[in-house]
Structure formats: C-alpha cells, structure tokens
C-alpha cells in the first residue's frame, strides 16, 4: 500500500525572483548608487509608495531595498543603494545593461488614500530619503489630492546629500516647503546646520489635518517623533518606516519580528500609535 499523494499546494515558491534589467545607473555619492530597473516585458511593478523589493544578486544573496520612485512612473522603478556588504557591493559594480533578480513589491506601504486631503510633513534623514522620495514624488505628482506639503531633509555632511536634482526642484517648487540641514557643514555650505530636529522650528503645521512621514536611521526616530508629538500631531498620524534585518520579505524567516508583528508584512510603515506598543520598535 503506497501513500496516496495528497494535493500539492499551488506551485509558486516564495523564493522565485523575476529578472529585471538595469537601464540607468549612476553614483549619487561616494557610497550610494542610483539604479533604474525595467522588468521583463516592461511590466509595471505596481507598487505602493513605501514598499520595498528583495533584490537578488545571484551568488551573493538578497537584500531588501526600498523603491525610491513613485508608482506614477510605470515603465520602470528606481532604487538608491548604499554599499555596505555582499549584495550591495556587487550591485555597485553593475552598470546599465546588467540584469538582476527581484522579488516583490513587499510590505504594506503608505496608505495614500487615507492621507488624501491632508497636509503632509516629510522628515527624511540620510538614506531615509530613498524610501521617502517615492512617497514625496507620488504626492507631488498627485498634488491636488493633498494639502500643504513640507519636506525636511538632513544629512551628515554636504557630500552625502542624495538626489541633488530633486532637492533643487523641491526647493524651487512653489507648492511645497523644503528645508535642508547638515550636521557637519563644509566651507561652501550656506544653509542650516545641525541635526534634523533643528529644522522643526522653521515649520508650522496644522496638527488637526497633518500626517508626519518620518524615515531615517534608528537614532533619528526618537527625536523626530517627539517633535511631531509636541506639534500636536496625533500618534496615529505619525508614520514611520522601520528597518530590520530581513531574509525573506514575506513573514517567514523571523528576523524582522518585533513583538507579534513582522516588519516586512505588517510594515515597514507603522504609525507611532502602533510602534509605541512594540517595545523594540524604536
């Protein structure tokens, strides 16, 4: 008597990447490189702002990377990658024409519907601008759907500023307020100096109709959230995108777990109201 094969689950491994082609690549700073990727057959990625992809460099592994373009740009998506290890190092050696593997988009992303009609205050620190940029671009592309837009951006020093063309564009736009700061200015720097929280004094928001979108290195959250709270923005409208180690992106590998949530699935975007409850949130 042989065991009857029971139904096999639908194929479709969670590990199967699709192949994408890099159509543009350039260094933004000494450590960050920009990529524009087109999927096979030119399919749109169909992401929500704030989602990420798992990039595969075969032989080195996978790395979760935020999508830094807006879904309104359908023919391709963009990433900004810092060189820190195996996968990212090999990515840095890739130029236009190279192919890489991709899974996703993953994560919850920002609820752009809920944010409609509200003012938005963006607070981006360092590489946090990469995920933030996708949301900013989306809001600016759908400008009429949202209220006042304020962008605060901080970097350690002027040479680490990302997306300089976008920065000048935002600066020039009449329909959004833009403030920038560096911790350690060089001689040519004329703008604000100091950590990002020093920018808050330039900002006036109406807390009753504002969403704060905060993305940056772990240390930044605590202080930026405090500022937002002191402005009177309710906890449920302070949104953060968290970074955790991730090996699968789909809520199985356990690495990104905080309490009973998986950052890759229920996040990476959380409101402060949610984070507060998770002890290791920030």
């Amino acid at each position: 008597m042989t065991v009857k094969e029971k139904n096999t689950p639908q194929a479709g491994s969670i590990f199967q990447p699709t192949i994408g082609k890099i159509v543009a690549a350039k260094m933004l700073t000494a450590k960050e490189k920009y990529f524009r990727v087109v999927l096979e057959g030119g399919k749109p990625l169909g992401q929500k702002p704030g989602q990420f992809v798992e990039i595969s460099v075969f032989g080195a592994g996978e790395a979760p990377i935020s999508i830094c373009s807006s879904p309104t740009q359908e023919d391709s998506f963009e990433m900004c990658v810092r060189n820190v290890g195996s996968v990212t190092n090999l990515m840095h050696q890739m130029e236009a024409g190279a192919t890489l593997g991709m899974r996703g988009p993953y994560g919850n992303g920002f609820d752009m519907e809920a944010m409609k009609g509200h003012d938005v205050l963006f607070v981006a620190g360092g590489l946090g601008l990469a995920p933030a940029r996708g949301v900013i671009k989306y809001v600016l592309d759908k400008r009429r759907d949202y209220g006042d837009v304020t962008i605060l951006y901080g970097a350690r020093n002027p040479s680490e500023l990302l997306f300089k063309e976008d920065l000048s564009e935002w600066e020039a736009r009449p329909d959004c307020a833009f403030h920038i700061t560096v911790d350690r200015p060089d001689d040519a720097w004329k703008g604000n100096k100091g950590v990002i929280t020093t920018l808050f004094r330039h900002v006036k928001v109406d807390p009753s109709k504002t969403y704060a979108v905060i993305i940056g290195p772990p240390v930044m959250y605590k202080y930026a959230i405090l500022e937002a709270l002191s402005m009177g923005i309710p906890e449920s409208r302070i949104l953060c995108s968290l970074e955790r180690r991730m090996k699968c992106g789909v809520g199985k590998c356990g690495h990104c777990q905080i309490g009973n949530v998986y950052v890759c699935k229920e996040g990476p975007v959380f409101s402060y109201a949610q984070i507060k409850r998770l002890r290791e949130g920030i």
């Binding site: 032989g59 080195a60 290890g85 195996s86 190092n89 090999l90 050696q93």
Partner: protein
C-alpha cells in the same frame, strides 16, 4: 586575465595546503579560473613575483618569518590567512606559555641557541590580513566559499556563531551528555561540527566567535570538574593568543 594566486607556508604542518589539494572534485575547475604562480610544495616553477591573492599557511615564529611575511604583503593585493596556525596561532602558540629559553633547551639541549624562535604570532599580528579561512585544518567548504567569493568579488560568508548551532543541526549527541567537555559553545562554526559528529569534543580550532560568553563557558567547564588551570589549558590548545587564555 586570470588572477595570480600564490601559496606560502610558514610554521605549520602543511595540512591546510594538503586540504587545498584535497579539493579533488574542484581542483581542475579552480586551476582553470586562476593562475597559480607559486606553490612550493607542489610546483617548481615561479611564474610571477606579484600576486593578486596570497594564501598564507602557518604561524610566524622566527625573525626570518617576520621579514618574509612582510615582503609577501608588499607583493600581494589580497592576503588570506589560511588555517588556524595563520588565523589564531593554533597549536604553535602552546609554546608561548613556557619560557622560550626553557623550550629551546628542553628540545635542543646544549645547542639551544642555534635555533631562532620568537613567541608564536598569528599573521595579522604582523601584517594586514584581508580574509581568514579558519580551522585546523581548513574545511573544504569554507575554502571554496572564500575562493569563489574572491573570484566573484563578494564578501565571503563566514559564520560568526558557535559550533553548537551546526552540531544541533547535525543532530549529534552532545558530548557533554557523554561526560566529556566541549568548546563548541564559544567556538566559531563553519566546520559542520565535524568533531562532535565523529563522537569527539570540539577543541576550539576555529577560534572564538566575536562575542563569546567565555565566563559562562569557564563556569560550565569548572562545574563539570575541570580545575581553573585545566580550563585554561583547554583554551590554550588552539586559542593561546586570545584574551580568554591569559
């Protein structure tokens, strides 16, 4: 251009070089991917005096070793410490715990001063090391991981967790359960827990993990009946140069 690879041997048993030759299934592929320009134990010809990668086996134990390793460092782009002798001093560091003069006299008698020796050093105590392949001897798998990584230009995946992890994955009977001692809980994995898999204790040949709880490990060994001196001796078999052996 194929990368130029050279092998050098210092104070060692040359077992790690033999492990390279023991890559019987992979050797021909590797010889196709790299140009071996110097390998004294296996070849007479020396085709280049500049290397992309130099594999260094053995510890530094004499004044002339120090000069030689420095000159190799100048000639190579990447220097790989190859095996426990090179990465952590290994067996050779046992002699450091006795006065060197006594050691020389015990072994060479009246002619002791004829033999140059300095306290055993691991390679990175003398020159910069770019990558390390652990183990006494190195494991084939890790050797391949490092070599293929160097060829692909990526950082090799070297575990930084204890041997116990691999030992449990192999479903071995823990040697503590058999009344023996084991250094697995503080020793870097990557060997597949080979020694416990063959019924023996982990002797710590791959060196310590980055953040070992050595106090807990010492307590554990003492609780199982070793004296403080014997606990130290366990660590000093291979890890004589590390903090925990002091």
């Amino acid at each position: 251009m194929k990368p130029k690879v050279a092998f050098f041997s210092f104070t060692s048993c040359e077992g790690c070089q033999l492990m390279f030759l023991n890559l019987e299934d992979e050797l021909l592929n590797l010889l196709g991917a790299v140009e071996i320009v110097k390998f004294r134990e296996a070849m007479k010809e020396v085709t280049s005096d500049e290397y992309d990668v130099a594999f260094i086996e053995g510890s530094i134990t004499t004044h002339s070793d120090i000069e030689r390793i420095k000159s190799i460092r100048e000639k190579t782009k990447i220097l790989v410490a190859f095996g426990a002798c090179a990465t952590i001093g290994g067996i050779n560091a046992i002699k450091n715990f006795q006065p060197l003069e006594d050691v020389r006299k015990y072994v060479y008698g009246e002619r002791w001063d004829f033999y140059d020796t300095v306290p055993t050093m691991q390679v990175d105590q003398v020159v910069k090391v770019d990558a390390a392949i652990h183990g006494c001897p190195v494991s084939k798998k890790e050797m391949l991981e490092v070599i293929t990584s160097l060829l692909l230009g990526k950082t090799p995946n070297i575990p930084d967790y204890p041997v116990c992890v691999e030992c449990k994955l192999a479903e071995n009977v823990c040697v503590f359960d058999k009344g023996m001692m084991c250094l697995g809980p503080v020793t870097r994995a990557g060997c597949g827990a080979l020694c416990p898999s063959y019924g023996n204790k982990c002797i710590g040949c791959r060196g310590l993990i980055t953040d070992p709880n050595t106090n807990a490990q010492k307590d554990l060994l003492e609780e199982k009946g070793l004296s403080v001196a014997e606990v130290l001796k366990e660590f000093r078999m291979f890890d004589g140069l590390s903090e925990v052996s002091k």
